[in-house]
């Protein structure tokens, strides 16, 4: 159940209230299930290769959980630290581009001024599957 709360915590949009009323959890960090790890790996393409990595993740979450010690009832959340700044508006003129050669130098493979990528998305193998297959 705790890992589910952690999961909800990860999914809630920033700037919105968390929805559950508990303040800092006295128990400290919770356990994260293998399912959550797999989901995170798929979404963010990071590799939690070892137990140590997962443990570090749990510690990081616990560290961030300290925020809950603050009572934010009735306080409007910020959107970002820039929210008081003025958003600069650029005029609609063409001032950049025409640097295909420079950009293409970054690419491992190039075909006639196109970047070359593998076909579609190659999805990560599931824990029980071994073969990757192309995403349509």
């Amino acid at each position: 159940m705790w890992s589910r709360l952690v999961w909800l915590g990860l999914r809630a949009p920033l700037g919105g209230r968390q929805g559950f009323t508990s303040k800092a959890d006295p128990q400290g960090s919770g356990r994260i299930t293998a399912q959550v790890i797999e989901h995170l790996e798929r979404l963010a393409l990071v590799d939690f290769g070892s137990c140590e990595a997962v443990a570090r993740l749990e510690k990081a979450i616990a560290f961030a959980d300290q925020l809950r010690a603050v009572d934010t009832d009735g306080v409007e959340p910020m959107e970002s630290v820039l929210e008081d700044r003025c958003l600069y508006l650029r005029s609609d003129n063409v001032v950049e581009g025409n640097c295909a050669d420079e950009l293409l130098q970054n690419s491992h493979r190039v075909v006639e001024e196109y970047f070359v990528a593998p076909p579609g998305n190659i999805s990560l193998p599931k824990l029980d599957e071994q073969e990757p297959f192309p995403h349509s």
Partner: protein, 557 residues
């Protein structure tokens, strides 16, 4: 949503208003309590059109379909949404790409003022509430044509919300009545376009062109108020006309400036909504209607046969006329929305809130934009009806055909003939010839001046209307002659000499005594035969009305 993979196939013709082959929900069952001709201003929330299944079984239920559209319109601007590289349809690959578009580290987004103005104009034209403060977010997914790994969009608080789009659907026996309908607009948001992927299946690779990456898009999200392909197609066509009138987007579907995805589900009225599928790869209005109708029928058939509908993405294959599943083994996408950390909120002002002494280049005044909105299609149509006395349906046709309104107005400018005559000739004869040979107005062999001259000849009774049709046919042959020249060459002028005409009538009556007898016996219709004979004898150079008058006079004497 996974990035669309599209190859632009051919240059589709603009779909003209009102004709959709097959499956039209408005032909199958006319809405009950049918509204009268020419409804203006009152939008009716018509009874939801219903579908019947192919084979009626006992206890058969009616089905209702629910269609929601997500429309992406490329903003017509010189440069991209967050960078200063050029926006152009065709250019050498990767030549219109800045370091930011290629998502090189150390680059930051800088918002293009023109794109914001375009969004505000579009929101105002669609009766939306413009949010004085809107926010930018990142939508994350991995695909080769999205170099940053995320798209900057406006998910939490878009620039415009809660609008409406009114469109007119053809109904009635001859498809000549126009019924106004409205679809609600959930929101309009600014977002970045992705690059283009070209799939090379032979070598198992994808070629990426980032010219389109970062171009500004307006995403218009419609509420699921639509119920069939025809409604969807008509609504999209109206949106196209509005965007083109505003100049905010060229909205050309064939060039990818307007893309539509449809969310479709079916259910029994009164029961909860069914599972919906998303249909993509719709690159013309005609295919949009076809795909939606196909998918609705597919879902009905599936459910009727005891199957179930999967919440999946399907692609429309226009050659086969069907939708096919784009098998998505990844499951539902999680886009991990987060606020864009590099952009403060977008703040808009109006006349009352405009800060004093502000740099005009740095502020956007909603009221000022509202004042400079150009004439919208619905207003243009009203004006045409008022000014020229034409039917509302005619105004729809004039606006729907590319270039036709301009053609019509040029003819009006140059001719003395009555507007109603011009309307009739442009919409019936001229348009008829165009359609027959599948030509666009711009490809017409007949210029507005030529038609104007022809109508003048008709108006001054120099030629008969039958002769005028002949002249028109000659003009279509593109031989470079003016109507006046054709008339004198073929000697099509109306006979002025009443005496000669009377002589002709007299001799015709003498040559056909049987007909005269029939007439005298009281069969008035037979006179048409005589008129026809006299006309032939004059080689169509006599006014049929005059012939009739002379004959009748002679017969009664």
């Amino acid at each position: 949503m996974a990035a669309p993979m599209q190859r632009w196939v051919g240059r589709g013709r603009h779909w003209t208003f009102a004709r959709v082959d097959g499956g039209s929900c408005h032909r199958r069952e006319a809405p009950t309590g049918s509204t009268s001709n020419r409804i203006r201003g009152r939008s009716s929330v018509a009874q939801q059109p219903l579908y019947t299944t192919q084979k009626p079984r006992k206890g058969e239920h009616k089905w209702a379909a629910v269609v929601g559209l997500e429309i992406h319109a490329q903003i017509s601007s010189n440069s991209k949404l967050f960078s200063g590289s050029q926006v152009r349809f065709s250019a050498p690959p990767n030549s219109l790409v800045s370091f930011f578009d290629a998502s090189l580290p150390g680059t930051l987004p800088v918002l293009n003022r023109r794109c914001v103005e375009a969004a505000v104009m579009t929101g105002l034209a669609l009766n939306c509430h413009i949010n004085k403060k809107s926010l930018f977010d990142r939508k994350h997914y991995f695909y080769a044509d999205l170099p940053a790994g995320y798209q900057i969009t406006q998910q939490r608080l878009p620039i415009a919300v809660n609008g409406s789009l009114t469109y007119g659907v053809c109904a009635g026996k001859k498809q000549s009545q126009v019924i106004p309908k409205t679809v609600r607009i959930k929101q309009i948001q600014l977002e970045q376009d992705s690059g283009k992927s070209l799939h090379d299946d032979l070598r198992s690779q994808t070629l990426i062109d980032l010219n389109r990456a970062g171009v500004g898009l307006l995403e218009v999200v419609l509420e699921p108020d639509l119920s069939c392909g025809e409604e969807a197609a008509t609504a999209v066509r109206e949106l196209q006309l509005i965007l083109q009138a505003l100049g905010t987007s060229q909205a050309n579907m064939a060039e990818g400036q307007l893309r539509v995805d449809a969310n479709i589900s079916v259910h029994h009225p009164g029961e909860p909504l069914g599972v919906r599928t998303e249909v993509k790869n719709l690159n013309s209005i005609r295919f949009l209607a076809k795909a939606i109708d196909y998918e609705i029928q597919r879902q009905i058939n599936e459910l009727e046969n005891g199957g179930e509908i999967l919440n999946e993405t399907r692609s429309f294959h226009y050659q086969l006329g069907c939708t096919m599943s784009m098998r998505d083994k990844e499951g539902k996408q999680d886009y991990r929305f987060m606020p864009e950390p590099n952009l403060p909120p977008l703040v808009l002002y109006d006349a009352t809130s405009l800060p004093a002494g502000a740099d005009p280049q740095q502020v956007i005044n909603i009221d000022q934009i509202r004042e400079t909105l150009p004439e919208l299609p619905s207003v243009t149509r009203e004006r045409l009806v008022q000014q020229y006395g034409m039917l509302l349906e005619h105004s729809f046709t004039l606006l729907n055909e590319v270039g036709l309104l301009e053609f019509f107005q040029n003819v009006i400018k140059e001719t003395r003939a009555e507007p109603k005559k011009v309307t009739s000739w442009v919409l019936n004869t001229f348009l008829g010839y165009l359609k027959q040979q599948n030509l666009a107005v711009s490809e017409s062999p007949v210029t507005p001046s030529a038609l104007a001259e022809l109508l003048d000849l008709l108006d001054s009774r120099t030629i008969s209307s039958a002769a005028a049709k002949q002249v028109f046919e000659e003009l279509w042959k593109r031989e470079g002659k003016t109507p006046g020249q054709i008339v004198s060459e073929k000697q099509l002028e109306l006979m002025e000499d009443r005496g000669a005409l009377e002589q002709l009538c007299h001799s015709m009556m003498e040559a056909h005594p049987q007909v005269v007898m029939d007439l005298k016996k009281g069969n008035p219709r037979v006179i048409n035969k005589l008129i026809g004979l006299v006309r032939k004898a004059t080689q169509n150079r006599a006014d049929p009305a005059m012939i009739k008058e002379i004959l009748e006079k002679k017969l009664s004497s």
